[in-house]
Symmetry: C2
Subunit: 399 residues, 2 copies
C-alpha cells in the first residue's frame, strides 16, 4: 500500500481523506493508496481515525514511507515552505492551492524536476474539471492560441442570478453568501483575484513561460448593474466574468466582465459551473465544463493526481517547466483589442463622428444611450472615450 499524507483538514482535505478511505472509485491499482498522516493545527478528538492526526510537519517530512503528500492547507505560508521541503526531500506533492502555484510555481516545478518527483495541481483550476492534464497531454499536438474561461463559480452564480432573476448585485451577492457560494469577505472572488490566479496558471501551462498573476490586468464584477445586464440582452449578449489570454508574439491576458454572445457556448454556463475554452491551431475550439468548486469535485481532482503520481512509481516522471518570462513577454493592457460596449450621455451625432456607424440601444436609462464600437485597441478606445461623456464601458468577448 502506498502511503499518503494530507496537510490541512478543511473542506478539500477532509474530502480527499473520505474518498481515499471509502475507496469508492474506479482505480484498481497494483498499489492501493492509504492515508498515514493528517496534519492540522486543530484537534479532532472525535475523529474515528484520530491516530492519523499530527501537528508536527516533520513526522511527514521524515517518514520515508510517505510517497505523496496532499497540500490542502491553502494560503502561501507555511504551505510554500512545507511544499518546498517535501519536494526537496523527494516526495511527490499534490495541491489544490492556486495561490501557491500561481506565486511559486516556477521554483516548485524546478525542484520537482530536479528531484524526479511530481508537483501536480489539477484541482487548482476548475475544481473537478479535467483541464490541466488535458492541456499537458491531449492538446500537446496543438499550438494553443487562446484560453477563454469562466473560472470562478461565485461570480458566475451572482451574474446568473442578476440575469435570470433580475436581482441587483448586492442582493445576488447576499444570496450567494446564504447558499455558501461566497465568503463573508467576498473580495477575492468578486474583485476577480481568484480568476486571475487561475488564468495565470493556465497561461503558464499553455505556453511554458511563467505568467505572473500580478501582471494580469484584473477587474471584478462589483460595478455591474442590472442596466448593464439589460443592455447586454438587447444586443444579444450575456455578461460573464471572463479570464482571457492569447499568444501571438506576446501573451495578452486579462480578467474582466465581458459581453458574451448568446450564440457562444460559454454563454450557457450558468450558476456555480465553470467552463474553459481552449483554442488550438489544429483542434479548433474545445470546451471543458463542470463544477469549479465544492468539496468532492475538488477532492476528486486531487485524488486523481495522487493516483497519477502513484502510477509512475519508479519511473522517470513527466515534468512541467515554467521558464521565467522574457522582458516584455506580457502585452500591456492598453494594447488589448476589443469591441467595447459603452454607456454614454453624449449625442448620437458626436458618438458617430468619433466611432463611425455604431449600433445603438436606447430606452434602458433616461438620457443615456448604449452602443458597441468596432474592434480597436484599448488605448485607441480610451482616447476617444475621453472626449465623450462616458458613464461606463464593458469589453465584448471576441471568441
Amino acid at each position: 500500500m502506498v502511503k499518503v499524507a494530507i496537510m490541512g483538514y478543511g473542506t478539500v482535505g477532509s474530502g480527499v481523506y473520505e474518498i481515499i478511505r471509502d475507496n469508492n472509485f474506479d482505480y484498481e491499482a497494483l498499489n492501493p493508496i492509504g492515508v498515514k498522516y493528517i496534519l492540522d493545527i486543530r484537534d479532532f478528538p472525535d475523529h474515528p481515525q484520530k491516530e492519523l492526526f499530527t501537528k508536527n510537519f516533520d513526522d511527514i517530512l521524515n517518514d520515508g514511507e510517505v510517497y505523496c503528500v496532499v497540500e490542502a492547507m491553502g494560503g502561501l505560508h507555511p504551505a510554500y515552505e512545507f511544499t518546498k521541503a517535501l519536494l526537496e526531500n523527494g516526495k511527490n506533492v499534490v495541491t489544490s492551492n492556486k495561490e501557491l502555484v500561481a506565486t511559486y510555481g516556477p521554483e516548485l516545478l524546478q525542484i520537482a524536476k530536479d528531484k524526479n518527483v511530481n508537483y501536480l495541481f489539477e484541482a487548482s483550476v476548475g475544481g473537478g474539471i479535467p483541464i490541466i492534464k488535458p492541456m499537458c497531454s491531449s492538446l500537446m499536438s496543438n499550438k494553443i492560441q487562446k484560453i477563454i474561461g469562466i473560472l470562478n463559480g461565485t461570480t458566475n452564480f451572482i451574474l446568473t442570478e442578476m440575469i435570470e432573476k433580475n436581482k441587483d448585485f448586492s442582493e445576488a451577492l447576499s444570496d450567494a453568501q446564504k447558499n455558501g457560494y461566497a465568503e463573508r469577505d467576498p473580495s477575492a472572488d468578486v474583485e476577480g483575484h481568484d480568476a486571475c490566479r487561475k488564468l495565470a496558471i493556465l497561461s503558464s501551462l499553455a505556453w511554458s513561460e511563467y505568467v505572473d498573476y500580478k501582471d494580469i490586468d484584473t477587474e471584478g464584477i462589483t460595478k455591474i448593474t442590472l442596466d448593464d445586464v439589460k443592455y447586454a440582452d438587447k444586443f444579444g449578449y450575456v455578461i460573464k466574468l471572463i479570464g482571457y489570454s492569447e499568444k501571438n508574439d506576446k501573451v495578452f491576458a486579462r480578467v474582466s466582465p465581458m459581453f458574451v454572445s448568446k450564440n457562444y457556448p460559454l454563454s450557457g454556463v450558468c450558476g456555480v459551473f465553470n467552463a474553459i475554452v481552449v483554442k488550438g491551431n489544429y483542434l479548433g475550439t474545445s470546451m471543458f465544463y463542470g463544477r469549479g468548486a465544492g468539496k468532492f469535485p475538488t477532492a476528486s481532482a486531487v485524488v486523481a493526481d495522487v493516483i497519477d503520481s502513484v502510477r509512475h512509481i519508479g519511473a522517470k516522471k513527466q515534468y512541467l517547466e515554467w521558464k521565467p518570462a522574457a522582458e516584455g513577454y506580457i502585452k500591456p493592457a492598453n494594447e488589448g483589442v476589443f469591441r467595447f460596449f459603452v454607456r454614454s450621455q453624449s449625442q448620437k451625432e458626436q458618438i458617430e463622428s468619433l466611432f463611425g456607424n455604431v449600433e445603438f440601444a436606447d430606452g434602458i436609462k433616461d438620457g443615456e444611450t448604449g452602443f458597441i464600437t468596432d474592434l480597436m485597441t484599448e488605448k485607441e478606445f480610451l482616447d476617444k472615450a475621453n472626449i465623450l461623456n462616458v458613464n461606463s464601458f464593458i469589453r465584448v468577448l471576441e471568441a
Copy 2:
C-alpha cells in the same frame, strides 16, 4: 528521432503526416518524431516525399526502427489483421478507427498488455475532443455513473438545420452532403450506427467490461419531422441524437433521438460540434465539447496519442483492459426508464386515463395532440401506448 509509420493516406492519415512534418505543435520531446513509412494501395507520384510510400505492409511490420504505427485505414479488414500483427510484433499502435476498436477492442487491448505496448484510440470518439484520456486518468477517482453524448456531427448538423432554419430532414441532409458533412450514403450516420460504436467504446472504457455495440439498441434520426421539432420547442426542448449509457447493477445503453431540455448544456451544442457529458459520483456533471470530426481535429488527437506512446519509451505501459461482459451485463432495451413524448390521435380523456395527468401541446398538427408521460419503463410505456392511437414517440433525456 522516433520513427512512425502511417497506414492509410486518406483524410486523417494525411493530416497526421502534415502535423508531424510541420512539427508545429507544443511538444519538445527528448525524442522528436519523424515519419518513416506511409502505407497506401494508391500511388502518390507527385507527393514531395514519395520515397516514404510503400504498398508492402511487411516493410513496416519488420522494421525494428518503427516504434509506433498510425492505423488510419478505416474499416475492419485488413486493419484488424495489420493491427494484430503489429501489436504482436511489439509495436505501439494508434488509431482513429472506431469500428475496429468497438469490434475487436478486447482482443487487441489484451495483446497490447501482453506485449507491453500501447493501443491508443483517442481519435475514435469525439474527433479532437480529449475524452478517452481524461476518462482513463482525471476521472479515475470517480465511479462513473452516466455518459450522455452528442457523438455524431453529421446528425447534429442536420438536426440543427431543422431546428434553426426550419428545413425538413431531406433538405437538411442534402445540405449536409453539399457541405461535405455527410457521405453520399449517409446511413452510418443518420441511422445512428456511428454514434452506437462510439457509445460502445465509451461504455467499455467507463466500466472496464466490454460493451458490444451490437447489444446497443440504436435508432437514427430519419423519422424526425419538423412537427416533432415544433412539439419539442413548445415543451421547452430541442431534439438531439443522444448516446446514453448508465451503470447501476447492469449497464443500460441506447442511441436514439431524444428531447433535451433547453436548460441542459447539451442543448446548446449545435452544428457539427460534439459534446460528451460524464457524470461521476464525486465530480458531478462534467462536459467535454469540441469538433467531433474533420481532418486536423482528428489528426491532432492521433498525434497526441503518438506523443503519449513516445513519452513512455522503455517504461512499463499503462494498459486498458476490457473484460468480457458477464451474461446479462447489458440491460434489455425495454427495461430503460424514460419519460416519453407521444403524438397521438386519441382523445385526451383516454390518454389521461392511461397516463394520468399529462401536459398536452396542441395546434401543431390537425387532429393530433402531443403529450409527455411520467417516468416509466419502456415496456410499461409500450403496453399502454399499444392501447392508444399513437403516431410516434420520442424519449425524453433524463440528465
